[in-house]
Symmetry: D2
Subunit: 318 residues, 4 copies
Amino acid sequence: MSVNSDAAVALGAERVDVAFLGPRGTFTEQAVAVLEPEGSQAVAVSTVQQALDLVHTGGARSAVLPFENSVEGSVSVTLDALIRGEPLVIVAEAHVDVRFALLARAGTKLAEVRRIATHPHAAAQTRAWLAAKVPRAEVLPETSTARAAQMVAAGDYDAAIAALVAAEQNNLHILADDIADRPGAVTRFVKLSARVAPPTPTGADTTTLVAFLRSNHPGALLELLEQFAARGVDLTRLESRPTGEALGQYCFAIEANGHIFESRVAEALTGLRRCCADVRYLGSYPRADKVRHGVPETASESAYLAARGWVDSLTLGE
Amino acid sequence: MSVNSDAAVALGAERVDVAFLGPRGTFTEQAVAVLEPEGSQAVAVSTVQQALDLVHTGGARSAVLPFENSVEGSVSVTLDALIRGEPLVIVAEAHVDVRFALLARAGTKLAEVRRIATHPHAAAQTRAWLAAKVPRAEVLPETSTARAAQMVAAGDYDAAIAALVAAEQNNLHILADDIADRPGAVTRFVKLSARVAPPTPTGADTTTLVAFLRSNHPGALLELLEQFAARGVDLTRLESRPTGEALGQYCFAIEANGHIFESRVAEALTGLRRCCADVRYLGSYPRADKVRHGVPETASESAYLAARGWVDSLTLGE
Amino acid sequence: MSVNSDAAVALGAERVDVAFLGPRGTFTEQAVAVLEPEGSQAVAVSTVQQALDLVHTGGARSAVLPFENSVEGSVSVTLDALIRGEPLVIVAEAHVDVRFALLARAGTKLAEVRRIATHPHAAAQTRAWLAAKVPRAEVLPETSTARAAQMVAAGDYDAAIAALVAAEQNNLHILADDIADRPGAVTRFVKLSARVAPPTPTGADTTTLVAFLRSNHPGALLELLEQFAARGVDLTRLESRPTGEALGQYCFAIEANGHIFESRVAEALTGLRRCCADVRYLGSYPRADKVRHGVPETASESAYLAARGWVDSLTLGE
Amino acid sequence: MSVNSDAAVALGAERVDVAFLGPRGTFTEQAVAVLEPEGSQAVAVSTVQQALDLVHTGGARSAVLPFENSVEGSVSVTLDALIRGEPLVIVAEAHVDVRFALLARAGTKLAEVRRIATHPHAAAQTRAWLAAKVPRAEVLPETSTARAAQMVAAGDYDAAIAALVAAEQNNLHILADDIADRPGAVTRFVKLSARVAPPTPTGADTTTLVAFLRSNHPGALLELLEQFAARGVDLTRLESRPTGEALGQYCFAIEANGHIFESRVAEALTGLRRCCADVRYLGSYPRADKVRHGVPETASESAYLAARGWVDSLTLGE
């Protein structure tokens, strides 16, 4: 993977394979390495919106962005951009282990650290460790953990909370490794592209979508969920997101086991489309963990085939 | 309508248009008049099974049988024959007002009536009137109200509870008219034929079927109903019927608004077929009362068409 | 058990223990023997309504009536009397094996049998046997199988389909035994009394009730069933019964596993009462088959106790 | 309201009335002014956790924290602290209009602005305005909009996006007012206290809670929602939040119309507690907008009272 500078993109360079939330040295770059084949052209951009815009305008074939974290939950900026912006679809996902280290210039001692820079999400995930080990240090927000490390190298802060890779890239020392309060945190990244036919089903797929209820009447959400249940489709995530109109106005980001090429999912989507004011389909794609969730016998492809054949025979009077 | 004798049928006469539960002079004959065109060949038989057998063997094109009464409920013998016997479908229905009269030979006075013959259903529907007006009379069962009237004419009983038409046919006097405890009773008759394509939808149709649950697990019945609810199909009747295997083993006779040619009904039937151990489809046909039940906007044919077009476009990446 | 004559009752005899649907020699009498202690005073009456009236007026402590048959389904006359009449409750049930025999006077041969009397339910359950063995015989309805046997003894018919006990009582011969089309048929009888506190729960109980929906809106029946499902109560039977007002106007006879003394059943009844136009409670009583249906862990009495204690503590701010 | 410095708190000052997410000049301070009576002692702290800790340790009677924004959605740090930390309850809420201005030192012209400081949420809500009006400016994160304004005053940045009140407090000029991309944004703040009895119901109340499903079986979420639906309780918000254990492990933050002192809410909570592995109750309190959502007639307090009285009478045999 070769990473272009923003400048190259701004100058109208040729179309690149992937735009990702930079700078180099973040977990997102690790996700790109997983999701893109060897030799892809990648460009690091500084906001989620820039990455999406590059895909919309054709400057990049795809974008890789953080979508969800096992500790922090949804990455709202990505989710909301997908909900409100021009339509894109998720075509792949990757899980990256999130392991934070405290990095400083050579010679800095832990006891001397007073000003620590990092991204707010990283600060949130190391809060207890910081309170216990450097209780008097001030934690200051930067736009990325990679940038925080760069600024420590430049002498702007005493230390940075960042990925290990940032130590090497910025010639920093590791004051402490694996400092997250909950070890084993994972961030889920998604690869987005303009509308394309979904990738082939693997038997271990996720479908992501956003539903806008027709009205806020009691039971409207229950009806929505019954559209899935009646087809044997299991939800894995359901999250109110503000539509932005007013407090209390929500749409629902939904993830389900299964692929739109399966009859049960296609029929559930049809039902959802009928019952909702609007539905935004965000893709069917392989699960990064490859875990296959059993399909109920009554909702299998062969059950659908047999049932439809039966109804057809009835309409013909056979 | 010309009514053949049983003998003609037994002797292997040509195929008739309709077999009905006789004898002449019953409410069923009135239903035949409604359901069959002028000039049809009709044959009166003495049991429900004989009528069905004639259709199965090709001796009759159709059978007209009582199916439900507004006071007495389902006519179990018809329903169970449809559930357990060779498959037939309902192609039409008729509602006949049930008006009972007390008939006797000329000269009989009400106060003298001691032995009254009638069909048990008619006895049930006039119980309070009898208790009030002829408290000392004994009510004796006959196989039909028409036969009861014939036997009064023959001198076997003092009076019969029967339809008015039986007075004329048997030269009897009307001791009292309109004696049902609940005036306005209606019996619903169905016209059955061998498997044929359903009649054209009218916008005011009923679909009748029998569902056999896959297992008796808690909530199985609820799941069955959700298959209808998720498609905006409203049930009008739901009745446990014994499968005959053992006490507590039931199937469910179900009637719903709508026609199998409507997407919402076809999809609900598909769902039911997947989820149930077995489903017996008993037909989609026009309601006798022509009452149109509004289809929810979200389940209209155009809503289905639009939603399916949308899902198709997604699978193509459009 | 001593059985009084109707006359004794009509003459204002003292209060008896139980009224049952006679005459002697029917399956109902067998049920009385199961349900009543040795030495009870029993009176045979000729209609369901007479039995119920005796309980209402205090002439009998209880009534024993057929309620359901494993082949024929509900006994509508009993069910409707409970739905529409003065309130009574079921306090016990009994299952009686239904075994039919063909009885005739000494000397009658099967091939000579032309006129067979029986109750219509018995006719329905032996239809195939009769068609195969005595295809030319006519089957004539009587008010009970016991009366049919009496009339055979009196010479009015050639044979009767009745219980074996009727052979002995009427000095008849058994032309054929066990002639039901489906062997193993069972009839369920209930013992009814005026409103009393329910019998002690046994862990294997049934609750019977009738629900009148508030309106016929789509999904009303689904809402009704959800009142049971939300409390982990499993339905065993659900049957539309006409209210008698008009075709298409139904109430729902419902049977559920569990006892009103259990929190889950009491709460489901509360929910039903709130959501329905009317609910008629017909009793909680031990199952005749003593089969215990597991209560979901989440709906056990201890789960209810713990959950209510928790809510109470919250309201107190503990 | 008098605002203490952090120092005072750190030095073990007396118990204050309220701790809030500082510094002064943020929208949170406006919420405190709404939620606390005149003359309350308030202390500004620098993290959500510090505010909560003060309540837990008794240093503050309550905490006021941002909970949700009409554009950005949940404030995860507050929600997660309530989910995972020591139990607290919400006793009141306030809605504060969020209106952003671009503030600079006297003499700075819009065209000269290169480095803009603000809180990331404020950056997100003014993204389009910034791209249109100051496309070449860099936006740098600070821990609060108030601190961003202070640092502009100190000369560290060219401009700050902050509340208008920060202009006055820091002697800054208003380069542009009302610059949010979606005007009319509102932030919802909550007042938290240690476990106390809930405030009196007002008829316009919200109940907030977190449910942990017993298992991830298909339909588990549907069952949870049915606990509310069966009692006529309408949900207003439902959001998966990671439990922090692993990707795909969620609990559900739920908000519903109604108050735990209402039978329908108390019974729904009981049902939830039975069916879930765990439930954390976060309070019943008046809605800031005072909007009364109609209670279905079937779930009113009088409907509950009548239904329970009915069930009680049945258990007594009345």
